[in-house]
């Protein structure tokens, strides 16, 4: 039994990841590497040093406390070599301007549940609950399962936000604890899926069929990234799904936002991701109307 896990963040009053008012727990670790990732700090399986360049005062206080050479000076400016960091955490409190932090904290199930329970009344009154997201929560399977179990023990509605890429038997095991799946549908083309996310989509489709067949409640979540998958072909594929799977609770379109890039920069990983402008409202509205025209009606912006 793993009764602790690594958490990126816990967001209270979360109102976009499932119905009502929710608490969303973002776990660290993901088997995919989507080019447009909105939470790049949640990809790696372990904690990471995060550095906010904008806040750095170049005072070099971090240099003297660090047991490694992660922080160094170049042209009188603070520079950073993420690969050397041993995660001692010493530099974080030494920094006078909160430019440094460690992303990813070890939390016990009890700690998470304690926080979750604080807003229970809000869940009840709003038809909300708890969403486990990430990263990919299935990568910390035991931890996820225990949180979900504790939620169910407390009669709290649960939602699992998943990319679908995990062993099928694990989904079956967790199914009784999940009231709603937010299930990603990223790219309809087999090869492109591999190109953009790092994995092929057969396992994802298999799991989807399995869960659907087992009468799981599912909202399909489709990240749409301009220039990548905002194609007619992909929209048609979404509509085909819509018709083929009439019992889907709904389909949500998630327009690309470049907030992920900024977060990637802080952990020294920006070169792994695409850099394009945030989708403007007009464009995302157009996608919705395209989908409507194609006959896909139960669809909304996520």
């Amino acid at each position: 039994m793993n009764d602790s896990g690594i958490i990126v963040d816990i967001q209270r009053f979360s109102i976009h990841d499932g119905p009502g008012i929710r608490t969303t727990v973002f776990l660290k670790g993901c088997p995919l590497n989507c080019k447009w990732c909105h939470n790049p700090e949640a990809i790696a399986y372990k904690p990471q040093l995060s550095f906010n360049q904008e806040k750095c005062l170049n005072c070099f206080a971090c240099l003297s406390v660090c047991p490694t050479s992660t922080h160094y000076i170049k042209d009188n400016k603070h520079e950073i070599n993420f690969s050397l960091c041993q995660l001692s955490g010493d530099c974080v409190p030494a920094c006078p301007n909160e430019a440094l932090s460690i992303t990813g904290k070890i939390n016990s199930v009890e700690q998470v549940i304690e926080l979750i329970l604080k807003d229970k009344d809000f869940y009840i009154n709003s038809g909300g609950g708890v969403t486990i997201s990430g990263g990919e929560p299935m990568t910390q399977f035991q931890f996820t399962k225990q949180i979900l179990k504790a939620c169910k023990d407390n009669s709290i509605h649960t939602t699992l936000d998943t990319c679908g890429h995990a062993p099928s038997e694990k989904y079956l095991e967790i199914l009784p604890l999940v009231d709603l799946f937010l299930y990603d549908y990223k790219e309809s083309d087999y090869d492109k899926h591999k190109e953009y996310t790092g994995v092929y989509n057969d396992l994802i489709q298999k799991n989807f069929n399995m869960l659907y067949g087992a009468s799981a409640k599912i909202i399909l979540r489709c990240p749409i990234v301009p220039g990548i998958n905002d194609t007619d072909r992909h929209f048609e594929a979404i509509c085909d799904l819509y018709k083929e799977y009439p019992k889907l609770v709904g389909i949500e379109i998630m327009p690309y936002h470049n907030i992920g890039l900024d977060k990637a920069r802080k952990i020294g990983a920006e070169e792994k991701f695409i850099s394009i402008d945030t989708t403007d409202k007009e464009k995302s509205r157009k996608w919705i109307s395209t989908l409507h025209e194609l006959g896909c009606t139960n669809i909304r912006l996520g």
């Binding site: 209270r12 009053f13 109102i15 009502g20 008012i21 006078p96 807003d119």
Partner: protein
């Protein structure tokens, strides 16, 4: 050039009756003031009653920081004398008048009576511009008499009541003169109606538009009728109500749906008017209130428990909300009382109106408040059900039965900073507080806490005594006839409300900086006493230097637990501070002889104004920046989101004070697109013990843009605590304060 003939006349009358019975003196002064201070009907008014108050006069409320009861606006008059070239003879008269009021002005009389200790520690009346821990306020504000009685029996009924009571006064050993004064005052009221009637008939005569002529004649007819009959229609009821409130200088209007609801529904049923016409009346009334421009008053309450004819009241309440939605003014401050089981259409309509950009209605939760009032004031549940919340702050009072003017302010954060420095004010360098030892001498956190408490208690005691002194002198000065007329049990006893007539005479005290104080104490406890990360000397250095050169320590202080995040450590410290001041204040009532003496935790611009003379604090707040607002987390510190914030703010007990204000702001996106979420947030907040909510719907972008292009945002209203204001008209400091408070 300001004409002083009216002020001079009133001064003459006052002189003449100076030694007469207070009721006669007051009545004669009222007669000199009215209708003289009333001003003409304006285009579009459906009811008569506008007023230009003079620089000398009589009021139960206030016309400036110390201008109340018999008042003289010294500064304004002196300015006029400097600015304008008055003829020598008139100038002498005005100067003599000033000199005369020097000793007759009620505030001056009160200050003169201060015992030495009070005079020493409450050394200034200018709380807005002076650095200090506590200040007195001079006013008798929040009066909310029994309007229902006024409208039930009208002028003739009241006249009759006075006559009857007067006839038996002597034999019952009641004060005959009190009733004589009352009679004169009622005559003045009728005179005002007749004066307006005459003026308006003249207007009607010269009007060339038939419709207008007809409308004016209707107004004149109404004015005439209410002098000889009790009101029979909504129109007559509103007209009498309005003239009365102006003459009595009552600025808050009680539970209007109770006393107007029956008139409305009777008119509708009898086909006298339709809903459109009724709405027109209300809109005109709302506009008259708005033009009164009281900034913090003009409260109208609708909804809630114990409304005798609930269906009629509901109908009026819905119409009142519609008036607020369409008139779009800062005042009246419409407020909705609600309870589990009330007609849901009212709450629904309220959210629509709030969503339409008004910050009204303000929401009051009967299911919590009635029990809180029962406990805090000791009123029975039945009585507590009659509560009303006048002015911006919303201290609970009972219509026509209780009174509790806030007559003191205390800056808790200043009390703490002075205590940390052995009585010395870091802003002025003067000793202004008790000298209870140096910070170094407080070996445990409890030592410090005890010293802080002692400091606060000392000033609270002075303020309680000051409140009683204020009432005592007011009671001697005047019976406040128009108010006593409709306040239990003044008429029956033949006594003015502050001379032993009123049933429940209480007082209130406004506390400021509560959250900053609690958060400062939390930081000190954690970082100095427990984790020993900062030394005491270091902290004082850091604060004295306003953090300059100590950014690292400021960050530590800022990162200490803060109230508003559902954090046990920080929230329990706030409760400690809250319980201490609320309970200590409450315990003063018996000692000083008031029915109740309670804290109010309000928010207006005082947190900003008093922040200007408060140095850097241990919660990380910079010197002279605004302090927290009301009961709210201090600006931007509620980082855990709205649910955490709401969980925190329901923690401090509502059963030990006279009311607190909770501002909430929501973005339009959330409010319009996720109404379901808003409703469940509010429901949960109120279920958990939330007493009140003032909701503003706006977004940060709006405000930021408004700073840059004010001309485009003139219609952007925000709530600054107890009142609404045009955002662009606020000082940059206040604007920034609003910006810093979190938007969800």
């Amino acid at each position: 050039m300001k004409d002083y003939s009216k002020e001079l006349k009133i001064t003459e009358v006052y002189k003449e009756y100076k030694d007469a019975h207070p009721a006669i003196k007051e009545a004669m002064c009222l007669k000199a003031e009215y209708p003289a201070y009333f001003t003409p009907l304006q285009d579009g008014d459906l009811f008569a009653g506008r007023l230009q108050q003079g620089r000398v006069g009589f009021t139960i409320d206030e016309w400036g920081p110390t201008a109340f009861a018999y008042y003289c606006q010294f500064e304004e008059i002196e300015n006029d004398l400097k600015t304008y070239d008055y003829p020598a003879e008139e100038k002498v008269k005005i100067e003599e008048m000033l000199k005369f009021w020097e000793t007759e002005d009620t505030s001056n009389k009160i200050r003169k009576e201060y015992p030495p200790l009070m005079a020493q520690y409450l050394f200034s009346d200018d709380w807005m511009n002076t650095s200090g821990i506590a200040f007195p306020l001079y006013r008798l504000t929040g009066s909310t008499p029994n309007f229902k009685k006024l409208l039930d029996i009208g002028i003739p009924g009241i006249y009759k009541e006075i006559e009857e009571l007067k006839a038996t006064a002597e034999e019952d050993r009641r004060d005959v003169k009190f009733y004589e004064g009352m009679k004169i005052a009622i005559d003045v009221l009728a005179d005002v109606c007749l004066y307006y009637e005459k003026e308006i008939r003249l207007l009607a005569e010269i009007s060339t538009i038939d419709e207008k002529k007809e409308e004016l004649n209707k107004i004149a007819d109404t004015l005439h009728i209410i002098t000889i009959s009790k009101p029979r229609t909504l129109r007559e009821a509103i007209q009498l109500f309005w003239i009365y409130t102006y003459a009595a200088d009552i600025r808050n209007y009680g539970r209007m749906d109770i006393y107007m609801g029956d008139f409305l529904v009777n008119d509708l049923n009898a086909g006298i008017i339709d809903e459109d016409e009724a709405l027109k009346y209300l809109k005109s009334l709302w506009q008259l209130m708005a033009d009164r421009n009281t900034v913090v008053h003009n409260r109208v309450i609708i909804g809630g428990k114990s409304r005798p004819n609930e269906a009629n009241a509901d109908r009026f309440a819905l119409l009142a909300m519609e008036a607020t939605r369409t008139v779009k003014e800062i005042e009246p401050q419409l407020s909705l009382r609600f309870y589990e089981g009330m007609n849901p259409a009212l709450f629904e309509k309220a959210l629509d109106v709030i969503g339409g950009g008004a910050t009204y209605p303000i929401l009051y939760n009967d299911d919590i408040n009635i029990n809180s009032i029962n406990n805090a004031f000791g009123f029975s549940i039945k009585e507590a059900e009659r509560y009303f919340t006048p002015y911006g702050c919303g201290e609970f009072i009972l219509e026509g039965r209780s009174f509790g003017t806030p007559s003191g302010v205390i800056n808790l954060l200043k009390a703490l900073e002075v205590t940390l420095r052995n009585g010395v004010d870091p802003v002025t360098g003067k000793v202004i507080g008790l000298q209870l030892g140096n910070f170094e001498d407080f070996h445990s956190f409890d030592d410090l806490m005890n010293a802080y408490k002692k400091q606060v208690e000392f000033f609270v005691s002075l303020l309680a005594e000051q409140e009683v002194l204020e009432y005592k002198i007011c009671g001697e000065e005047a019976p406040f006839l128009y108010n006593s007329l409709l306040y239990d049990d003044c008429m029956a006893k033949g006594k003015g409300m502050f001379a032993g007539g009123i049933k429940y005479l209480g007082g209130t005290l406004e506390t400021y900086g509560n959250t900053n104080t609690a958060d400062s104490l939390t930081a000190i406890k954690e970082l100095i006493y427990e984790r020993k990360l900062i030394s005491k000397k270091e902290l004082l250095d850091v604060l004295d230097n306003n953090f300059a050169g100590y950014e690292n320590i400021q960050l530590k202080l800022a990162n200490a637990p803060k109230y508003g995040n559902n954090n046990e450590i920080a929230d329990s410290m706030l409760e400690r501070v809250h319980n201490h001041v609320c309970n200590f204040v409450r315990n003063q009532a018996e000692r000083v002889g008031l029915h109740s003496y309670l804290v109010v935790i309000i928010n207006n611009s005082a947190n900003t104004l008093m922040g200007r003379s408060t140095h850097a604090s241990a919660d990380g707040r910079k010197a002279f920046e605004h302090m927290n607002n009301g009961n709210a987390p201090s600006g931007g510190n509620d980082k855990e989101g709205v649910t955490a914030m709401l969980n925190s703010i329901v923690k401090p007990s509502t059963a030990i004070h006279a009311g607190s204000v909770q501002n909430m702001k929501f973005s339009p996106e959330l409010f319009f697109e996720r109404r379901d979420i808003i409703k469940s947030l509010l429901k949960t907040y109120f279920d958990k013990g939330g007493s009140q909510a003032m909701i503003t719907v706006l977004n940060r972008g709006d405000l930021e843009n408004a700073l840059v292009e004010p001309e485009k945002y003139r219609n952007l209203f925000v709530r600054v605590g107890g009142f609404s204001a045009r955002f662009v008209e606020l000082s940059t400091e206040v604007q920034k304060d609003i910006l810093s408070r979190t938007l969800y």
